[in-house]
Amino acid sequence: MWQYRWWAWVLLFAAALIIQTSFLPLLFPTGFVPNLVLVVVVALAFFESPSRGALLGAIAGLMTDMVAGRLIGMNLAIDAAAGYLVARLQSQIVRDDVLVPGVVGAFAAGAARLVEWGVLRLLGFSFAFRPFVAPLPTDILFALFMTGAVMGLARLRPRHEVDASLRF
């Protein structure tokens, strides 16, 4: 199944990056553009083991960092952690296809922004608290609706379902 291949991840992240850098800035003002790549990481990690979740997060973060061209490693660490934690969480919860992924995605988006803000403060960027708080509702609402939507659009399925369909 394609969703478990690394090249499929790269293609999905590339598509998400193109949308995030070219299309979403037309809809959202500067500084408020939501993190679609993180949403895709969360959606994929829901069907992966923790180690593979961390790996796909690392790939997504590295790609984002390469495009951003600044502070290479920040998105890598955040997305890898998000992938790992979501993959670890999904094995311990009962989930549906819409609500739980949305809530987890929203939580990940909020947490990622908080971590980014902390890392930037540690690195000497004097961003005030308001810039951190102001885009949070946009980030959270976007992830809330888009995580399930990405899972549906990409037709992501658990591994046992894929195996069963291949067997028959």
Partner: protein
């Protein structure tokens, strides 16, 4: 009796003629009575007749209304489709108008800065990281763009080129915390440095050099020409607030950028400009 029975029809006919003749002759003289009688008969008959007329008129009217309704429905559909067409035409027109204004502005800018060598470029992407304000333009080293070239629009300064590939270039916006431009308050001639804060607040920080710089809200801020990147006289923005700096020795002003960074579609890269020549502030150059 047999006689009567045999001649009954002629007798009835003769009697009828006689009755008719009598009635005619009688009523020819007594018109008023006949009219009253007629009025009484009319009074009795008129509601029935009126109802019949009304009903038949109504039916005719309803039939006409139904036909009209059918026509109106057709007309309504036609008008709706025409309205949709006009709406889309209006949107197209507005878009063309906006493009026209923008391109006119760029052309005017180019004509105003005649001795400057400017290159137009489209914005193709933004930085995926919200904390940093860079954008990618669709021209690169193949078009003659080099690192540190200033990027402007008719409203003012956008930023400067920070990296170049053969077909694209990265522009660091004034909003970015890593950006900086030598700046001058037009009214008081106080000098300082304008640096970005963050993309969310969308304002710039004007750190003034002088002890009592006399900068006031509403003052225009332009490039001073003292920094290595920007030529002198390009508009940066307008002072909206002045406050003492943290040390208390000087002041820091908050500047609202002249450029709306959310609506950048096409920008001009300054490939070269006459050294030492000052240009008037760019704001309001759009005809």
């Amino acid at each position: 009796m047999d006689f009567l029975y045999r001649w009954r029809r002629p007798i009835i006919a003769v009697l009828a003629v006689m009755v008719l003749a009598t009635l005619l002759s009688y009523t020819a003289k007594l018109r008023g009575h006949v009219l009253t009688l007629s009025a009484v008969a009319g009074m009795v008959a008129s509601p029935i007749g009126g109802t019949i007329v009304q009903v038949s008129g109504g039916v005719r009217g309803d039939a006409q209304s139904l036909t009209q309704l059918f026509h109106l429905q057709q007309e309504n559909q036609k008008l709706k489709s025409e309205l949709t067409l006009y709406h889309s035409l209006k949107l197209q027109l507005e878009e063309v108008q906006a493009d026209n204004t923008r391109l006119r502005g760029l052309l005017y800018l180019k004509s105003q800065l005649g001795s400057w060598h400017l290159l137009g470029a489209s914005v193709v992407a933004r930085n995926p990281n919200n904390w940093f304000s860079t954008l990618t333009i669709g021209r690169g080293s193949q078009s003659g763009i080099k690192v540190n070239m200033p990027v402007i629009v008719p409203q003012g300064v956008v930023g400067r080129v920070v990296s170049v590939s053969p077909t694209t270039a990265q522009v660091l916006l004034l909003l970015d915390p890593a950006s900086g431009a030598g700046a001058l308050d037009v009214r008081s001639r106080s000098a300082g440095v304008v640096v970005g804060r963050d993309p969310i607040t969308g304002t710039l920080r004007f750190e003034l050099f002088g002890h009592r710089p006399n900068v006031l809200p509403g003052d225009a801020v332009v490039t001073s020409g003292l920094s290595q990147y920007y030529p002198k006289g390009l508009l940066l923005g307008q002072v909206i607030r002045v406050a003492p700096s943290s040390g208390g020795l000087t002041e820091t002003a908050t500047v609202k950028p002249a450029v709306n960074f959310n609506q950048l579609e096409t920008v001009m890269v300054v490939l070269s400009h006459p050294v030492g020549e000052s240009t008037p502030p760019l704001s309001g150059l759009v005809p």
